[in-house]
């Protein structure tokens, strides 16, 4: 909402610098976003009179003007053709900066000195609407007299300061000059001096010209109309044009300007119909019929639906109620009789219509917040008052007013103690009353009567806000919360924190990615057509296809990050995201399931399959998972992964039924080359997807101390030969099983493939540490144990390398 300061001051006699006004209004609850004065960009521009006009000797279109600017006469060369001697016009002197941004310097035009520039509308960021008497491609010639040398901003009415207010949706009354002036009066402690416009008088009786019927009475709380005969369409006076322009509204003609002026002043949207085009002399407020159409004032043809409200004549819609009038019944040069409409439409209905038509107007944006029907009458009388003042036509006697249930002021019990209790302060009852009265409230017999324009004030807490904002939020003291407080991070929160911090300690960087993406993401990560992950929660109204699906897997988000880092020529990267994934449920009216996944990805010289596997294993161990219980299985179905370099990690956990169940914790491996290709990554990438829920459950108990060994250990190295397809994990399991308690630890130290151990074979070399907890292990004991182990291995086809 734009507010020209002088307009507000015409209703509240306060004085303040622009900064003071902005600060005090902001602190009392009407937030000023910015303020500016056109004069700021019009320094060194004055009014001058052209005293002499002569042709430039070397040009067929330039003129040499002598311009009297009060203290002196200066010479200016101009190319404009509309000047004559004696004309008053704005003169930009040497060093001036124009509102259009141009800077003016003294110079020569074809050899003749020019000490400035005479300004056109365009150069002053004005238009013919603002100065209808001017010519578009010439110098702006003033119609009124002005002192020579006067600041041009003052002479042109461009020296007022305009404040841009952020009006919150609860205060539609402040979408008006009167509303803000009332706030200003209360803020500065001066009287609010707006007066009620008089009852209109005129010849004839409007009801003989027109009838009004509200059919959709649920959506139209009030419909008032009045008529003006013998309309004399012409530009409105300069003061009105100025205020409109400063408020950001283009002046058109007196009738249209009056509707806009009243809308700005009262916050009540108005409309003017050309009576000649109201067929059947009858206005009906109704819902649109199926298939009805209207061409609105902006020239667009719009299809209407039955939940939209229209103003209709006998033939059909002549306006979309509260949104925009029809082009056909609009007010133009030829209009001779005008119907003024001042109505109150149901906010949500206007909002829905405006949204559906994609047409948001000054009118609809006011209506949708819910306007006060009581205001419509005053606004209509104000319009008629202006018609008289501007001599824009002859008012027809009477007003039509369909207003079946006039709004009644609400009464709220006045409880100063409760207000003080909520605020934690001690304001006297009298001070509270003194705050409320200037805002239009009245207080009597323990009841606060709320003015009808303050529909936002419903309960005691709303009164408390009025008290607080005029007591000054910043005069209210600070206190510390008392009472019971017991805050403890949950086990899960601490677990996630450790998870994240451990990975950061391993050299991984945390990422944050969008949780929605394109349906194409599934193709990019190479998911099969029937993969259930493709069934995702879809956003009805996405910004675009790229952000239309809630992710069912966070892998594409991570791959995008990897791709971006690769494209940025980061040679090596290790990244993670604690990401939420969203799985749709069968019933669309149930919330989808949200699960957390820890997604890791890395590339560069330190990274290969074993590195990511080792990272995940180490991470599990830090988080209290017994990794010796970990089951590692080849996963050939991980569609996004290299089929030969992908594994699932799982663990046996006691399920709810008490039985042991295998629970998958993670999938990890090298990313499929086709996936890399889709993300334009020309480097092998490894990744891991860890289920945070499963991992949290897989945490073991608190570790229990085992006594340190008292007896020495024996170390034996075993070089084994096995067929290539025998998984190392199986061999290890057999080693542990056969070794029993006395096999303290084992470590793989070499893997070898070569002709000398036979084709299709591999050799694995383990170092075993053997120890007996109760006695020194003899060589013979160790030999016996090794024999036992070898015998077991032989059963699975694994033999000692010869």
């Amino acid at each position: 909402m734009k507010l020209p300061l002088r307009w507000a001051q015409s209703f509240a006699d306060f004085t303040a610098t622009p900064k003071e006004f902005a600060d005090r209004m902001t602190m009392s609850g009407s937030k000023v976003e910015t303020y500016e004065s056109e004069a700021e960009s019009m320094k060194k521009e004055v009014i001058g009179r052209v005293t002499e006009l002569a042709r430039h000797p070397d040009s067929d279109h330039l003129w040499i003007c002598q311009v009297d600017i009060g203290q002196e006469v200066i010479q200016i060369v101009t190319g404009a053709q509309n000047l004559k001697e004696g004309d008053l016009c704005p003169v930009a002197l040497h060093g001036a900066k124009l509102p259009s941004g141009a800077e003016i310097k003294r110079g020569k035009l074809r050899g003749v000195v020019s000490n400035g520039m005479l300004c056109s509308l365009d150069e002053l960021n004005l238009s013919l609407n603002d100065f209808p008497g001017a010519v578009e491609d010439g110098i702006l010639v003033l119609e009124e007299d002005a002192p020579l040398g006067q600041d041009a901003a003052v002479a042109l009415g461009m020296d007022d300061t305009v404040f841009e207010f952020e009006i919150t949706p609860n205060r539609p009354d402040c979408l008006s000059v009167l509303g803000l002036a009332r706030e200003a009066a209360a803020t500065f402690g001066v009287p609010f001096t707006a007066s009620e416009p008089p009852e209109p008088t005129g010849d004839g009786d409007v009801s003989e010209y027109l009838s009004v019927k509200v059919e959709a009475s649920d959506l139209c709380m009030r419909y008032s109309a009045a008529m003006v005969e013998n309309v004399r369409i012409q530009p409105s006076p300069r003061w009105m044009r100025e205020r409109l322009r400063l408020s950001g509204v283009r002046p058109i003609n007196n009738i249209v300007d009056i509707t806009n002026y009243v809308m700005l002043e009262y916050g009540q949207p108005m409309h003017a119909f050309d009576y000649a085009y109201v067929n059947g002399k009858k206005i009906t407020v109704r819902r649109a019929a199926e298939g009805e159409q209207i061409v609105t004032l902006d020239g667009a043809e719009r299809a209407l639906t039955p939940n939209m409200m229209v103003i209709a004549d006998e033939k059909g819609p002549i306006a979309v109620a509260g949104v925009m009038g029809g082009e056909y019944s609009g007010v133009y040069e030829t209009t001779s009789r005008v119907v003024f409409e001042s109505a109150c439409f149901h906010g949500p209905s206007v909002r829905a219509t405006s949204k559906k038509l994609g047409l948001r107007t000054e009118s609809s944006s006011r209506f949708e917040k819910g306007l006060d029907p009581a205001n419509a009458g005053g606004a209509l009388r104000r319009a008629l008052e202006l018609v008289r003042e501007l001599d824009a036509g002859d008012i027809v006697g009477g007003m039509l007013d369909d207003y079946p249930s006039p709004s009644k002021p609400r009464g709220i019990p006045f409880d100063p103690a409760a207000i003080n209790r909520l605020l934690g302060i001690d304001v006297s009852e009298q001070d509270m009353v003194d705050t409320l009265l200037p805002l239009g409230f009245s207080v009597e017999n323990g009841v606060v009567t709320v003015p009808t324009f303050r529909a936002d004030v419903e309960r005691s807490c709303d009164i408390a806000e009025e008290v607080a904002r005029f007591a000054g939020y910043n005069n209210i003291p600070l206190t510390i919360l008392r009472g019971e407080a017991k805050a403890i991070p949950s086990r899960r929160q601490r677990f996630e924190k450790r998870l994240v911090e451990t990975l950061a300690g391993y050299g991984f960087w945390e990422c944050e990615t969008f949780s929605f993406y394109s349906p194409k993401s599934f193709d990019r990560i190479h998911l099969a057509a029937q993969n259930p992950l493709r069934k995702a929660v879809a956003i009805q109204n996405p910004l675009g296809e790229d952000t239309s699906l809630m992710r069912t897997t966070a892998l594409p988000s991570m791959m995008e990050v990897v791709g971006r880092n690769w494209a940025s020529r980061n040679e090596e990267a290790a990244l993670f995201e604690l990401a939420t994934e969203y799985t749709p449920t069968e019933d669309p009216e149930q919330l989808p399931e949200e699960h957390k996944k820890m997604v890791l990805a890395a590339y560069g010289k330190s990274w290969d399959y074993l590195a990511i596997k080792g990272t995940v294993e180490a991470l599990f161990e830090v988080l209290g998972v017994d990794t010796s219980e970990l089951l590692v299985k080849r996963n050939e179905q991980g569609e996004s992964y290299h089929p030969g370099r992908c594994a699932d990690l799982s663990i046996s956990l006691r399920g709810e039924n008490g039985r042991m169940e295998e629970k998958k914790l993670a999938t990890l491996g090298e990313i499929h080359p086709l996936v890399n290709e889709a993300y334009e990554i020309r480097h092998r990438v490894v990744a891991a997807e860890i289920s945070v829920e499963a991992l949290f459950e897989a945490q073991g108990d608190v570790p229990q101390y085992k006594p340190l060994p008292k007896f020495p250990a024996v170390t034996r190295d075993l070089s084994l030969v096995a067929a290539e397809d025998v998984p190392a994990a199986d061999i290890e399991r057999t080693l542990r099983k056969a070794g029993g308690k006395r096999l303290e630890s084992l470590a793989l130290f070499d893997v070898y493939k070569g002709e000398n151990i036979g084709k299709g074979n591999k050799s694995l070399a383990y170092s075993l540490v053997l120890r007996d907890a109760g006695a020194t292990l003899t060589d013979a004991d160790a030999d016996a144990l090794i024999e036992k182990i070898l015998a077991q291995l032989k059963q699975m086809g694994v033999v000692l390398r010869s």
Partner: protein, 339 residues
């Protein structure tokens, strides 16, 4: 014989004291003091001496043995010290060479800022709670005093999944969920992702993070709201930071306010960061609207509370002087490594 002993003494002491290597010392020890050494050889000949001379020569021989042993020990110590000194000198490094670091990772700026906020509020007795991002309309809007078609909804352009399910536009539904489950006293903060249909640019993102807070108890006042948030900002930005509260409107609080903090860059004098106002808008807050309490079956005649909400992006961007929100979601390592 005495003369022979004295000669050994002279020669040996000289040799020992000039020996340059440990091995040579050992050799000298064997040469003079060993089983077949020169001193031993002389002692073996003592049988040929008279009874008077024998103890005298014996004593002399022992004295010389002792002297040589000492000399060898002393020289050995000297040599070790020389050797050590030489070794240490040789091993001198350019200590200014760059160190070998372990792989370095780190948290996203959000993670860092959020961690700090959570710690501050934990200290003030606020638990951190999280909940679903895909939410029911009733929790996100209706129970927060924003019925369908309420104009306040226009300030939060919403992504819908169905008519009744949406992507939460604020983390306030967690306040509702908490109030429905727990009875006062309640003190929580709700951090998390929220969604609004704003296209991404330098200052907007369709996904961003909020941290909201709620305190409900008997006798909570507007002064408590001010005191708690002022303390929070002082914890985050330092004890000299000042706060200012401006009236505002939120459907779910009444009275409502916006809180500004004195610009942490210029201290309130005015600079480009605060657009020369000296103040930076930091969060919205207010006393929980009695309708919201009633919706959660909490009697507003008995209990009152306050709520607040701030954008994590805004806090992080101001803290780290980041000028484009999109950087936070690009996750370029050259960016992430800076925090």
């Amino acid at each position: 014989m005495r003369q022979a002993l004295e000669e050994i003494r002279t020669t040996a002491v000289a040799q020992i004291s000039t020996a340059e290597e440990q091995a040579l010392l050992e050799q000298l020890r064997v040469q003079y003091l060993g089983k077949k050494g020169e001193l031993t050889a002389i002692l073996k000949k003592m049988g040929g001496l008279s009874a008077e001379e024998r103890p005298v020569v014996g004593a002399l021989a022992n004295e010389i043995r002792g002297q040589l042993e000492d000399a060898i020990q002393k020289r050995a110590d000297e040599l070790r010290e020389v050797l050590l000194t030489r070794q240490l000198a040789e091993e001198s490094l350019d200590v200014t060479l760059p160190g070998k670091r372990p792989a370095q990772g780190g948290l996203h700026p959000f993670g860092k800022v959020l961690g700090e906020l959570e710690e501050i509020f934990l200290g003030m007795g606020f638990d951190s709670v999280t909940g679903p991002e895909i939410e029911y309309d009733k929790y996100n809007f209706e129970m927060l005093n924003m019925p369908k078609s309420h104009p306040s909804r226009d300030t939060q352009d919403t992504f819908y999944i169905t008519e009744n399910i949406l992507l939460r536009t604020q983390t306030s539904p967690m306040q509702i969920r908490t109030m429905l489950q727990e009875k006062p006293p309640i003190r929580i903060i709700c951090p998390g992702r929220v969604y609004r249909s704003d296209p991404a640019d330098a200052t907007h993102s369709p996904i961003f993070h909020q941290i909201e807070g709620l305190a409900v108890d008997k006798g909570i006042t507007f002064t408590d709201l001010k005191g708690t948030l002022d303390l929070f900002i002082k914890q985050l930005y330092g004890p000299d930071t000042r706060t200012r509260f401006r009236p505002h409107h939120f459907a779910y609080t009444e009275p409502s306010a916006e809180m500004d903090m004195s610009c942490f860059k210029c201290g309130g004098k005015g600079c480009p960061l605060c657009k020369y106002e000296g103040w930076i808008e930091i969060l919205g807050c207010g006393m929980v609207h009695p309708k919201v309490l009633e919706n959660c079956d909490i009697d507003p005649e008995v209990y009152s509370g306050f709520a607040f909400g701030a954008g994590l992006e805004r806090i992080a961007m101001m803290r780290y002087d980041i000028d484009d929100m999109r950087l936070l979601y690009e996750n370029d390592l050259r960016f992430l490594r800076q925090f």
